[in-house]
């Protein structure tokens, strides 16, 4: 579990990126400078990342998102919570998502 990410928090896409869904792929395009490691790079998400990203709407808590995903995928809630915290931690470190509450 990512220690810095609390599952009761609500996260949403940062205003410093544009997320696009093209032919089933989610592509995160930096909008402002300082996002990611290199300014000419885009980011894509793996299958797990895509499923979680679609739940990061700025309204659900991470715990709620994880519960929905666990039900949808028939996966153990502990595993899903680890994935949710892992993805959010990774994207937050790149300023691609922000904590709303």
């Amino acid at each position: 579990m990512n220690d810095k990410i609390r599952l009761d928090s609500i996260y949403g896409p940062s205003g410093e990126i544009v997320a696009r869904e093209i032919e089933g792929e989610i592509i995160i395009v930096p909008l402002t400078s300082g996002i990611g490691d290199m300014e000419d790079e885009l980011y894509t998400l793996n299958e797990t990342g895509r499923a979680i990203w679609r739940k990061l709407d700025g309204a659900r808590s991470l715990r709620e998102a994880a519960a929905e995903l666990a039900a949808e995928f028939g996966a153990p809630i502990e595993t899903v919570e680890q994935d949710v915290a892992g993805l959010v931690g990774e994207l937050a470190s790149r300023k691609m998502v922000v904590r709303i509450r």
Partner: protein, 407 residues
């Protein structure tokens, strides 16, 4: 779901093709000619009109039209737009259009002469980076040689100021130039200067085979003909003999060579790019302005244009007997710049051989050892062994698609 040990997010660089495992987006890249007008009056340019040309300005796409076009492009999956011209920075709404493209999640390539780059614009591009290297045209290393090409007093200093601003803001750019009689001795100097500016030793990209005007203009096209390098000299720049003994070029012929047959468009690919001219007409590429190959976006959507154009172009067949006798049977298509757009510019048709490009292709082939002196490539039936190609790999070659030799 299973716990993932690896990263959830993966960086992707400019080539996105590995992403598309199934369907590709309908449109991957769009060139938008924001204006045909330019503050320079470069001798060799295939499109520039005077900056103050009110007739041209009044017919250009307005801000709302271009914003809607950008929205449509994004909806089709487009990830890169190129703003070109003319000089795109002549438009007073440039920043607005740039931000629209970036806010829709597209990377923006700006092709400019840099003379109109201001501290304000450089600051904006620094805060909201284009995510693509800018392309900057530079035609001389001195006021004298620059003026001989741009015919715009002050352009040399203005461009240097603009490039310094880009460098100061750490905005990546590449220089693009053209080998002309007036600057052919400055190529190395330009390369060294560019490396000093950018901190990268990348050589500027030089065009060597000039296109004629892409809209009918016999006077300006005549001027351009007079600036063209002799075919053998042009071929010398293109073969890369000084770089790798021509190896890369030979390999290119081996991999993609073959005759065109009667098919006119050998460059079409699925999920490809497109272009829109300054007046809102969709074209397959920016230089292809033949009326039969454009789609008026004031009468239909970008989606319709992108869907309709490639099949329409694929159906087009060459009819010119000389084209079929020569180009249709010539295996040098990867060395030759002949294409419907060049034929249109030179002859007002889609399928007339362009003698200048044919001579350059043959001069390259001779230098690469693929043809004997005076030999014509369309008379060589079994060309595979000449490029080191096994017979089994040649079966069925000829009318398949390949990359554009003109880049």
């Amino acid at each position: 779901m299973t716990p993932m040990k690896k990263a959830y997010a993966t960086r992707v660089r400019s080539d996105l093709s590995p992403l598309w495992k199934g369907r590709r987006p309908l449109l991957s890249r769009l060139d938008i000619e924001l204006t045909e007008r330019c503050n320079n009056d470069c001798l060799h340019c295939s499109i520039n009109r005077p900056a103050g040309d009110e007739d041209a300005r009044s017919r250009e796409m307005d801000t709302g039209f271009i914003k809607d076009l950008l929205d449509q492009a994004a909806a089709l999956g487009c990830l890169t737009v190129r703003f070109t011209g003319g000089e795109p920075l002549l438009r007073s709404d440039f920043e607005d259009l740039y931000l629209r493209a970036r806010n829709r999640g597209m990377r923006v390539m700006i092709f400019t002469n840099a003379t109109l780059v201001t501290p304000r614009l450089a600051g904006l591009l620094s805060r909201v980076p284009p995510l693509e290297k800018m392309e900057v045209s530079v035609y001389g290393m001195s006021e004298r040689t620059s003026l001989a090409v741009t015919r715009n007093p002050g352009a040399f200093e203005a461009a240097r100021r603009g490039l310094r601003l880009l460098a100061d803001h750490r905005l990546p750019f590449v220089l693009k130039s053209v080998v002309l009689p007036s600057n052919r001795n400055e190529r190395e100097e330009l390369g060294a200067w560019a490396a000093g500016l950018t901190g990268v030793a990348a050589a500027p990209a030089f065009a060597v085979a000039l296109d004629l005007r892409s809209r009918p203009d016999p006077v300006r096209s005549g001027l351009i003909r007079g600036l063209r390098l002799p075919p053998r000299e042009a071929a010398g720049y293109m073969t890369g003999m000084d770089r790798d003994g021509g190896e890369e070029r030979r390999r290119f012929v081996a991999e993609h060579g073959g005759a065109r047959g009667g098919r006119l468009f050998t460059c079409l690919e699925g999920g490809g790019g497109g272009a829109v001219d300054a007046y809102g007409r969709f074209q397959y590429c920016l230089t292809l302005r033949h009326p039969d190959t454009v789609y008026d976006l004031k009468r239909g959507s970008l989606r319709e244009a992108v869907r309709e154009m490639p099949p329409r172009l694929r159906r087009l067949r060459a009819r010119d007997p000389e084209y079929l006798r020569r180009c249709g049977r010539c295996f040098l298509k990867t060395l030759c710049l002949q294409c419907p757009a060049k034929s249109w510019a030179e002859h007002g048709t889609l399928d007339t051989p362009v003698g200048y490009f044919c001579e350059i292709a043959h001069a390259q082939a001779e230098a690469l050892g693929l043809l004997a002196a005076g030999e014509k490539a369309w008379t060589v039936a079994d060309w595979g062994p000449r490029v080191g190609q096994a017979a089994s790999t040649r079966t069925g070659r000829g009318e398949e698609s390949g990359p554009c030799p003109g880049g």
